[in-house]
């Protein structure tokens, strides 16, 4: 599913603005890691200066992927290239890949400045240069003057920034972040997410960001890699991943939505012009399904008024609202229509429990055996 050609124009412009060479930087070719009950098999490329999020449910192999790239684990097969170099069998301590751990792993016996300077000391950087570098890194993460603090005195957010500064100290060729915000509360996460993006843009360092939070992945990354069961489901821009998910798994994982059999289209299709050519039913082999997001569903609760949709659309008349959940900006409804469950969203609370739902034909994404069909 890793397909860079799917990149849209918008993304290309953005990278050019950042003045980075739009070239492959990290190339994982067919890397494998086998366990008794789990097998990881990945093939993807990260471009220079790019920020890629890896997202997926627990146990899908996100962290394992980071361990393989960082060298903390050796793959059972395949190759990993970084720049022009094959690093598959290079020891972890020679790779110069920064890794920020979920628990930050700040060394408790060293103070902030010693933590950040750890890699510099290993490289025998002179003391004065070390001091300057530590100061500038602390400025970068917004913690000036923290040099002499003990790691135990820091708050969660501060630790996270120090861990980031430490990982950046040696000018790594690649930065890996393993769920760096998962231990923090919601407010702080949002703030630090922006900070991470800012630091990424200031340093221009190629970054891989592992998360299980869809919102984080969507807001932060240039591209998102959706993983499932040790495999890549899709690697694409946030917009594509949300609007045209590459697989049904990606579709249901990256937010709410309804999956219906393909045969529903001829049964419910309504076109303004009778006998329209907008839709041609195709006979296919395999399980053919359609998917749409709740916000693309029009909820019509007043039968005395005409249905306000004129483009070709699917219409579900007299759907029963089973559950209506208020989410702040919208109401999310779970409806039942002819034994099918449909998710719909509306800004207003529907006045009746029987409503008519409509979804435009153009909003449907088609899947055969869970994989997107690219022709609509």
């Amino acid at each position: 599913m890793a397909d860079e050609r799917q990149q849209d124009d918008e993304h290309t412009i953005e990278t050019v603005q950042k003045q980075h060479v739009h070239a492959p930087w990290l190339v994982c070719s067919d890397i494998e890691a086998s366990y008794p009950e789990f097998r990881l098999n990945l093939d993807f490329t990260v471009l220079q200066g790019e920020m890629v999020s890896i997202i997926g449910p627990s146990g899908c192999g996100k962290s394992t992927t980071l361990q393989l790239i960082s060298g903390l684990m050796e793959p059972d097969g395949g190759t990993i290239r970084l720049g022009d170099e094959d690093i598959t069998h290079k020891p972890v301590w020679e790779r110069n890949i920064g890794l920020v751990f979920q628990d930050y792993a700040l060394f408790p016996h060293l103070n902030v400045s010693q933590n950040i300077a750890y890699s510099l000391k290993l490289q025998r950087v002179p003391k004065n240069d070390r001091r300057q570098r530590v100061a500038s890194l602390l400025a970068l993460v917004g913690l000036e003057g923290y040099q002499k603090r003990k790691t135990g005195e820091l708050s969660g957010g501060e630790r996270q920034r120090i861990a980031l500064a430490r990982a950046l100290a040696s000018n790594p060729r690649l930065l890996l972040l393993d769920e760096p915000l998962s231990a923090l509360d919601a407010q702080l996460r949002k703030h630090l997410r922006k900070e991470i993006r800012r630091i990424h843009e200031e340093t221009g360092i190629t970054t891989i960001y592992v998360t299980h939070d869809q919102e984080e992945a969507l807001s932060l990354s240039d591209r998102i890699l959706v993983m499932h069961d040790g495999n890549a489901e899709q690697l694409a821009t946030p917009q594509q991943v949300y609007q045209r998910p590459g697989t049904l798994f990606a579709a249901t994982f990256m937010g709410d939505g309804t999956v219906l059999p393909y045969e529903i289209i001829p049964k419910t299709l309504v076109s303004a012009e009778a006998g329209s050519t907008a839709f041609v039913f195709r006979q296919t082999v395999g399980e053919h399904q359609v998917f749409f997001r709740p916000e693309n569903v029009l909820v019509h609760d007043d039968p005395s008024l005409a249905f306000p949709e004129f483009l070709p659309h699917l219409r579900f008349v007299d759907a029963r609202i089973l559950d209506c959940e208020y989410q702040g900006s919208r109401y999310l409804m779970e409806c039942e229509w002819n034994g099918k469950r449909i998710l719909a969203a509306s800004e207003d609370k529907p006045k009746r429990s029987l409503v008519t739902l409509g979804v435009r034909l153009s909003e449907l994404v088609e899947y055969i055996d869970g994989i997107i069909v690219d022709h609509i």
């Binding site: 060298g71 790779r95 792993a105």
Partner: protein, 602 residues
């Protein structure tokens, strides 16, 4: 000493076993955290550095442990003509004399364990349930016996409980009696009491620390279902505590089973002889090495069984704890008036029980008769005598020699044991492979062999080598064998507490495995290394079982000279030496504590 047995880490269940169905409310479970790191043997354990680092330590340990053991055991199968024979063993296991000794050994260990629990468990209850003034102090006092040299305890008992001891004198003066009211010494009771003195802190600490960290919500749940306090205790608390109690009991039983100096001196005769004492007597007094060796076989058999049993209870404890440690320990309730009264009463009694013998040793060392008619006053006479400033130390050699010997032996033992334990721990701590389990077992094995038997082995080696002046080396080696398991037990849990991510972080930052070890792990272990060194030092400083069994008359250490003085009824001299021993131990422990604190006040 950390009795909380923190070296038990329930392994996290595999993350990959269960498939997670993606849903709208996907939430990560904490259980899946970091389990990827454990899924395969990590890069660190596989590195050449961590694979090779324990090798020197293992070689040294195997040599200094297995060699004397082989010497001892092989002698059990060789008769007077130097031929192979099992006659000695067979006769041992059938003769009424040895059977009686074996029976007595088991009986006294059983009774001692029972009494230790009887004294320790109420304390464990009070410690675990109540907050009261002086709790920390009483805790500290209760750990004293554990690090106390046996010979000091023996001496303390003689001085305090003896017919002419401080207790009897005080009682006689108080009630103007003619006869000493308490005739305790050289009896079964004295042995049991001394064992209880030694071991009740184990029960107290082990059980109370488990109890304290036990999740009380089970009890609360039972209470909401209408169970009364007594019933809750019987049906919920006690069953949950049982593994901890059994664990403590088996450890105490093990210690009492292999007890030596206490029986030797306080038992006072063949009537109260245990296997260990009999091994010593045969080897060193009746020169029946074969007989000693065959008895050793029996002793090792029993201790191995005990140790297996103990480790099984430890595992049970670990299993249970993995379910119950999820909740943070609740704040202890302030004591009720009755609870506070009981707690303070217990504290005072326990403190008196522990401190009285020690204090009386110190007091006695500064007392000398003023005239022949009686009456005593402060005097430094015994110290002057000991250090040879005045004559009459006789064949004992000067105490100054013994002090220097003991200090240097203990220092060497501490210095050598620490790197061995550290390097072995480095390779054992993370990997769960068969070889690392075997390795851990090998290092713990000396615990299953009593120190008298190790001493016997070195005695045999010495007599084989004949005449050469290697007494000190052998003492050092024997002490190393005895101290290493304790040091490893101190270091390994702390080692395992270091999160794997620390080393991983260091490596991603460019540190080689060797560099990771020196710059991250060793500094983080500093506290436990100091504690371990203190233990090694204290163990060596007070060791008498192996030392007495292997030493010739030229060799003097502090406990040996004390033992010889006690045997010669020179109690004041022994007291003076004992006071010095107390002082040395106190300095070492206080120094250790300071060393632990000064750099980063953790």
């Amino acid at each position: 000493m950390d009795f909380s047995s923190a070296d038990r880490y329930p392994s996290v269940g595999g993350e990959f076993g269960k498939k997670v169905i993606p849903g709208r409310t996907m939430k990560r479970t904490t259980a899946s955290r970091n389990s990827t790191a454990n899924a395969k043997e990590d890069i660190l354990s596989r590195s050449r550095f961590y694979r090779t680092i324990p090798i020197p330590g293992i070689v040294v340990l195997s040599l200094i442990f297995l060699l004397p053991l082989t010497f001892t055991l092989s002698r059990g199968f060789i008769d007077d003509q130097g031929k192979f024979s099992v006659a000695a063993i067979v006769s041992d296991f059938t003769s009424p004399y040895t059977l009686r000794i074996m029976a007595f050994t088991l009986v006294q260990a059983f009774v001692s364990t029972f009494v230790s629990l009887l004294i320790g468990l109420p304390g464990a209850y009070l410690m675990a349930t109540y907050r009261f003034p002086g709790k920390k102090i009483i805790r500290a006092i209760c750990t004293i016996p554990f690090v106390l040299p046996t010979i000091l305890v023996v001496l303390g008992f003689v001085i305090f409980y003896g017919n002419n001891g401080l207790l009897n004198r005080a009682l006689m003066r108080l009630f103007s009696l003619k006869e000493p009211p308490i005739k305790l010494l050289y009896s079964f009771t004295a042995v049991i009491l001394a064992h209880a003195f030694y071991n009740f802190p184990i029960a107290l600490n082990l059980v109370s620390s488990f109890w304290e960290h036990m999740d009380v919500r089970c009890e609360q749940a039972a209470a909401t279902m209408g169970a009364k306090r007594g019933r809750i205790f019987r049906t919920i608390t006690l069953p949950r505590l049982m593994p901890a109690i059994i664990s403590a009991a088996s450890l105490i039983f093990l210690f009492c089973f292999t007890s030596f100096a206490i029986i030797l001196v306080l038992g006072g005769g063949p009537q109260f002889t245990t296997i260990e004492v009999e091994i010593y007597r045969r080897a060193r007094m009746s020169m029946d090495v074969g007989g000693a060796a065959s008895l050793s076989l029996f002793s090792i058999l029993i201790t191995c069984l005990l140790l297996l049993w103990y480790s099984a209870t430890q595992r049970a404890l670990a299993r249970q704890e993995s379910f119950s440690t999820m909740a943070p320990a609740l704040e202890k309730k302030p004591a009720t008036r009755l609870g506070r009264f009981l707690a303070i009463l217990y504290s005072v009694l326990a403190a008196a029980f522990v401190l009285a013998p020690l204090v009386s040793v110190v007091i006695r060392s500064f007392m000398a008769p003023v005239s022949r008619a009686g009456g005593e006053s402060f005097s430094l006479k015994w110290y002057r005598q000991l250090f040879g400033f005045s004559a009459a130390t006789g064949h004992m050699g000067t105490a100054a020699d013994a002090i220097v010997h003991s200090l240097s032996i203990a220092a060497v033992v501490a210095l050598v044991t620490i790197p061995i334990a550290l390097t072995v721990a480095a390779s054992v701590r993370r990997s769960r492979t068969v070889s690392s389990t075997l390795l851990e077992l090998l290092v713990m094995l000396p615990m299953a062999v009593s120190s008298v038997i190790i001493g016997l082995g070195y005695y045999l080696i010495a007599s084989r080598l004949g005449g050469r002046d290697i007494g000190f080396l052998l003492v050092v080696l024997a002490h190393m064998v005895i101290a290493t398991p304790f040091v490893l037990r101190t270091v390994l849990p702390e080692y395992r507490k270091i999160p794997a991510t620390y080393s991983q972080a260091a490596m991603t930052l460019g540190a080689t495995p060797a560099r990771t070890f020196w710059s991250i792990e060793v500094p983080l272990l500093r506290t436990s290394l100091v504690t371990g060194a203190m233990f090694a030092f204290a163990i060596s400083m007070g060791e008498i079982n192996a030392t007495l069994t292997l030493a010739d008359s030229k060799l003097t250490t502090l406990p040996l000279v004390m033992y010889r003085l006690i045997n010669a009824y020179n109690y004041q001299g022994a007291c003076a030496l004992g006071t010095i021993l107390i002082l040395v131990c106190a300095i070492v422990f206080i120094g250790g504590e300071l060393l632990k604190r000064n750099r980063h006040g953790r």
